[in-house]
Amino acid sequence: MDGARSVAAKTDTDKGAERTGEAPPAPRRRRGRGRIAAAVSVFGELLITVGLVLGLFVAYSLWWTNVLADRAAHKEGDKVRHQWSDPGPGALDTKGGIGFLHVPSMKNGEVLVEKGTSSEILNEGVAGYYTDPVKSALPADAKGNFALAAHRDGHGAKFHNIDKIKKGDPIVFESKDKWYVYKVYDILPETSKYNVKVLSAVPKESGVKKPGRYITLTTCTPVYTSTYRYVVWGELERIDKVDSKRTPPPELR
């Protein structure tokens, strides 16, 4: 019985195929509906395209910019290290980078530090020290605040794990001949992006009153946005001399 039914169905569809094969002239109403259907399908395809482009943009921001930035930072870092080990003729080129930041609790190895916090600089996968709106001090200065910024996501995301830093954690800045060992003493998990006071030579918001040798890390928060700023303050604990083998201080071992 089943077989008979399927045979019947088959002949039915065959007949149908034959009928469409003859291609009778489509009635006018159907052509109008076809046009609307085409418009709807183009609109649908545009929506799908927009979705795909946005997806690609996320991939670009969170993955591809990291690839590019890490590559650039690696190259620059090698250049700085090479210059340190073999200064050669000519004056020290400070444009490339002044040293490396090591924050063990961020678990991201070394971060090259360059001058300036414009996006062209930070997009190279480095941390920049502020020149504007506040002129940052340098670690070698007798007093002042060494204020840095870096990306939280994308472009190397060098301060992505800034929320993993706890009070008392070490921050080490490596220059050509010194290890500057700072200790984190205060954290501001959320502040306005206009709060430039966090960069002051004596950052009062962190509770200090006297001039000293401070370090400030700033980045955006919450992750994947830049609504607020996350700030970490540290104070210089000691300075170690770099030996011939560049043995890192105990904090980094």
Binding site: S41, L56, Y130, D153, C220, R229
Partner: protein, 52 residues
Amino acid sequence: MYGWIWRHLPGNTWIRALISLLLVLVVVYVLFQYVFPWAEPLLPFNDVTVNN
């Protein structure tokens, strides 16, 4: 739209598929190389500094 492109590509199904793939790659390249780097600073995701 995509149907129209498909119909206007030359060759058989395999050649069309190959050309489509190349077109997709070209589009992705242009987006990553030119469009996204241009669009990114205009979007409020990547400001990390404090400023006035």
